[in-house]
């Protein structure tokens, strides 16, 4: 097992290096040389040149990359071109909000999707199954920003049930109920697509398991249908879903950009959009890199978990 984890970790390293190179290259090739933007435009051209030289921006790209990446590895993410503050500080302010949102959405997706998916599979070809299938089709097809707008328009603006945006009531003291009140709609919207997707995967997985020979064996042993499904079916059906939760991670992170923008949720996605509009390259680079690293780690955890849970996999 340990060797497997080590081996799996080793595979991850070249992947991370490739990710960092791509991120770096992308920013270098973007029009409007990013470096120049960081230099005060009011100083005379000769002084600017000197400044660029002093910052090492005339050095060959590999050297620049090496400097950047060694900074990233040691936690020095550089400063924002716009705010001039350390990028790491800006991230730390925003990261908790995004993590809260993502965690809430994940929990929501799992507690809704898995039971519903199972019910759908157990009642295959009934009205319940068709209804669930139809709703999950809709959940996959609906654009999340629009769902967000609709919820804000009807539930928040017209009915006044929920706040329009933000993490908490402005200038109020910390209050857990207030936080949850603010969290509910964005988390729900962020969870929509994944809930629908996960429902369909759970259904498929359960249907597949339902036709396995060992389910027939369990029935032949005389077990009640509920025991057959919950004891013998569920565990087998849920195993492949571990990997799916890792697949959900990118959509969750990606979705956070949109949801945070719609709900004015001050998280990483929101920061990313602001930075893109301001061409704040150091921030864009770090966030892009960070999301990719999160995805890679998510996959890593899923793989290792799978290996632990499934007795058939041996290392």
């Amino acid at each position: 097992m340990t060797t497997y984890i080590i081996r799996r970790l080793l595979i991850t390293i070249p992947l991370l290096i490739a990710i960092s190179i791509i991120t770096f290259a992308l920013m270098q090739f973007a029009p409007g040389s990013p470096a120049v933007l960081d230099v005060d435009p009011n100083v005379p051209p000769e002084a600017r040149e000197a400044q660029i030289e002093a910052m090492g921006l005339n050095e060959p790209l590999p050297v620049q990359y090496a400097r950047w990446i060694s900074g990233v590895v040691t936690g020095d993410f550089g400063n924002s071109y716009i705010t001039k503050r350390p990028v790491s500080d800006m991230l730390l302010e925003r990261l908790p909000n995004t993590l809260i949102l993502m965690t809430a959405a994940t929990i929501l997706a799992i507690i809704i999707a898995i039971p519903i998916g199972i019910i759908s599979a157990v009642r295959q070809y009934t009205k319940t199954d068709y209804a669930i299938t139809l709703v999950s089709f809709a959940g996959v097809a609906v654009p999340n920003f629009w769902i967000g707008l609709m919820l804000i328009m009807f539930l928040s603006v017209q009915f006044g049930w929920f706040p329009v945006g933000g993490v908490q009531t402005l200038n109020a003291d910390f209050n857990i109920m207030d936080r949850i009140h603010h969290l509910f709609l964005p988390a729900l919207v962020l969870a929509t697509a994944d809930t629908a997707q996960l429902t369909r995967y759970t259904r498929t997985s359960m249907l597949e398991v339902k036709n396995q020979d060992y389910i027939r064996t369990a029935r032949a042993k005389g077990f009640k249908e509920s025991k057959v499904i919950l004891k013998h079916g569920l565990r087998n059906a849920l195993l492949p879903l571990i990997t799916l939760i890792a697949i959900m991670l990118p959509t969750l992170i990606g979705g956070s950009v949109v949801v945070e923008s719609v709900f004015s949720w001050p998280g990483l996605g929101d920061l990313f959009m602001t930075s893109v509009n301001q061409r704040d390259y150091p921030v864009i680079m770090i966030i892009t890199m960070l999301t990719a690293v999160l995805v890679v780690i998510g996959n890593l955890i899923a793989d290792i978990l799978y290996a632990i849970v499934d007795p058939r996999i041996e290392y």
């Binding site: 973007a30 990606g254 990719a292 890679v296």
Partner: protein, 306 residues
């Protein structure tokens, strides 16, 4: 009884083995019948034809010029003159909605075509040749899959060149990986099927086997994936446009119409305005998914074989 003991079963002769087969139906016939038995698929197809038709014939169908502003009609309610109301600049929403469909569908189809082409080629090469070529292609796929798609798309489009063409290029470059994985998987499994081995023992050449024997069997999953991809690209385009980075006004797209509608006053007074563009995206993507799902069932060779 005694008579029976003496008679022996006769050996089979080739001619009395002519079993009757059922009514002959071609592959296409079976596919069509199965597809049209699927109610959701048919519904999706009908909706899709209506949506595509309305976009194509937008100039004939639109009651107004989509970009003509009438100040007195600002946020006009739905009425005979403005069937779906008017926006904050006094432009007819129905007309804008119809024209917006052109752009969304164009981007969706063009991105699908290019991404499918790249993906299928890469996947076929990786799957058939294997070895080092396979490893390289699949590592590229892994790397690109590590980035949550939208981040790279936003970066590519916003920082480089916000134009419809560049949008399509970015979608193609960032959207081919799942097709590649799919086709590679199909290649790997089909390569081992006995009918491919049989083709090899018959001396049929490698390329002929790939294109004439393997590909026709992989075309089903490819069509399904491509259909579903159009919907995904339409969502991606509208998301980017909504965020203000995709297609910028005055060209109408369903996404950027919603950007303009994201406004407290509109939320309070003109609920129809943000409702319809989103509904169009939703119905379009839903139709593509219904059709894709119907195709998946109808094209599944396992169902035909058993």
């Amino acid at each position: 009884m005694d008579q029976l003991q003496h008679r022996k079963l006769e050996p089979m002769t080739p001619n009395n083995n002519h079993d009757n087969l059922g009514k002959h139906r071609s592959m296409l016939g079976i596919f069509v019948v199965k597809f049209f038995q699927n109610k959701l698929a048919v519904l999706g197809l009908v909706m899709l034809l209506l949506i595509i038709g309305s976009a194509v014939f937008a100039p004939l169908l639109a009651p107004h010029d989509p970009n003509y502003q009438i100040l007195t009609a600002r946020l006009h309610e739905p009425s005979a003159e403005y069937p779906l109301g008017a926006d904050q600049l006094g432009r007819d929403l129905l007309s804008r909605l119809l024209y917006a469909g052109q752009m969304s569908l164009l981007v969706g189809f063009a991105a699908m075509a290019s991404a499918t082409f790249i993906g299928a080629t890469m996947g076929a090469i990786a799957g058939y040749f294997g070895g080092i070529i396979d490893s390289i292609i699949m590592r590229i796929v892994d790397i690109l899959f590590s980035f949550p798609n939208i981040f790279l798309m936003i970066t590519l489009v916003a920082l480089f060149r916000p134009s419809p063409f560049w949008l399509i290029v970015s979608f193609a470059v960032l959207g081919w990986m799942s097709t590649a994985r799919l086709i590679r998987g199909e290649m790997l499994s089909l390569k081992k099927r006995e009918f491919v081995l049989a083709a090899r023992t018959l001396g049929i050449s490698k390329w002929r086997i790939i294109f004439n024997h393997i590909m026709p069997n992989a075309i089903g999953p490819l069509i399904v994936a491509a259909t579903l991809a159009v919907g995904q690209f339409i969502i991606a385009e509208s998301t980017l446009s909504f965020l203000g980075i995709g297609i910028s006004p005055p060209t109408a797209t369903w996404g950027n119409m919603l950007t303009a509608a994201q406004n407290l006053t509109i939320f309070q007074t003109a609920w129809w305005y943000p409702l319809f563009p989103g509904l169009m995206i939703f119905l379009t993507v839903l139709s593509f998914n219904f059709v894709g799902d119907g195709l998946r069932d109808a094209l599944d060779p396992r169902v035909v074989e058993k």
